[in-house]
C-alpha cells in the first residue's frame, strides 16, 4: 500500500507523521499571525513613525488593536517557537540551538560595537528595532549555516 493509514503504521512512524502534520500547522499558524499583524499595523497605523527608523515617539495604534497585536506576538514569537522546539528531534534541535546562540552572541557583541561606532560618529545611535534586527538576522544566518554547512 502506497499511503498507509495511521492504523497501519508502527508507533514511531505514526509519531513521525503526527509531527509532520504539526509542523505544517506550525508554519500555517506562524504565517497567519505574521499576515494579520502586517495587515493590521499597515491598515490601522495612525502615526508617522517607523520601526526601521527608530522614531518611536510617532508610532500610534488604537489601544485595543495594540493589545490584540501583543497577544498575537506572544503567540507567534514566544509560544509557537517553544512549541516548535519541543516538536523537533535532536538533530533539528541542535540547529535551533546554534541559531539561538548566534542571535544571542550577535546582540552581546553587536550592541557595544554599535554604541562605539555611534560614539565615534560613524552611525546613528543604537535603537531597539536595530538590536532586534541584528538578533533576528544573526539567528537566521546561524541556523542556515548549521543546517546546510556544518
Amino acid at each position: 500500500m502506497i499511503f498507509p493509514t495511521d492504523q497501519q503504521l508502527g508507533p514511531g512512524e505514526a509519531r513521525t507523521r503526527k509531527r509532520q502534520r504539526n509542523q505544517i500547522i506550525f508554519l500555517g499558524i506562524a504565517g497567519l499571525i505574521g499576515g494579520v499583524i502586517g495587515f493590521a499595523t499597515g491598515f490601522f497605523d495612525q502615526g508617522d513613525g517607523s520601526l526601521f527608523a527608530g522614531d518611536w515617539e510617532q508610532l500610534k495604534l488604537p489601544p485595543a488593536l495594540a493589545l490584540v497585536i501583543v497577544a498575537l506576538l506572544i503567540g507567534g514569537l514566544i509560544v509557537l517557537p517553544l512549541w516548535g522546539f519541543r516538536m523537533v528531534d535532536d538533530y533539528k534541535r541542535q540547529h535551533s540551538l546554534i541559531g539561538f546562540t548566534g542571535g544571542c552572541i550577535a546582540v552581546l557583541g553587536g550592541f557595544p560595537i554599535w554604541a562605539a561606532l555611534y560614539a565615534g560618529g560613524f552611525v546613528p545611535p543604537p535603537h531597539a528595532f536595530g538590536i532586534f534586527a541584528i538578533a533576528y538576522v544573526a539567528m537566521i544566518a546561524s541556523f542556515a549555516f548549521a543546517r546546510w554547512r556544518l
Partner: protein, 71 residues
C-alpha cells in the same frame, strides 16, 4: 575536551533490510534528515537515540557505532 566523530554501520544495516532513510526515520521517530546526518557522520545521535537504534537492529550500541578507541 576532544570531539571524536563516530563511525557507524547504520547505512549498511539499513541497506541489509532494504529500508529507505524515511522508513528508518519513521521506525526511530526522528526526521529523515537526522538519519542522513548520522549516516554521513555529520551528527552524533543522543544516547537515548543510540539505544533506540541498537534495539531496532537487535544489536549492541558498540556494534553499530565506533569511536575508534578500541582495537
Amino acid at each position: 575536551m576532544v570531539l571524536i566523530a563516530l563511525k557507524n554501520r547504520l547505512k549498511i544495516l539499513r541497506a541489509e533490510r532494504d529500508w529507505s532513510q524515511a522508513e528508518l526515520a519513521g521506525r526511530l521517530d526522528v526526521s529523515r534528515q537526522a538519519v542522513n546526518a548520522i549516516e554521513t557522520g555529520k551528527h552524533d545521535p543522543s544516547l537515548p537515540l543510540a539505544f533506540r537504534i541498537a534495539r531496532l537492529f537487535d544489536m549492541r550500541i558498540e556494534d553499530i557505532f565506533d569511536d575508534g578507541e578500541h582495537a
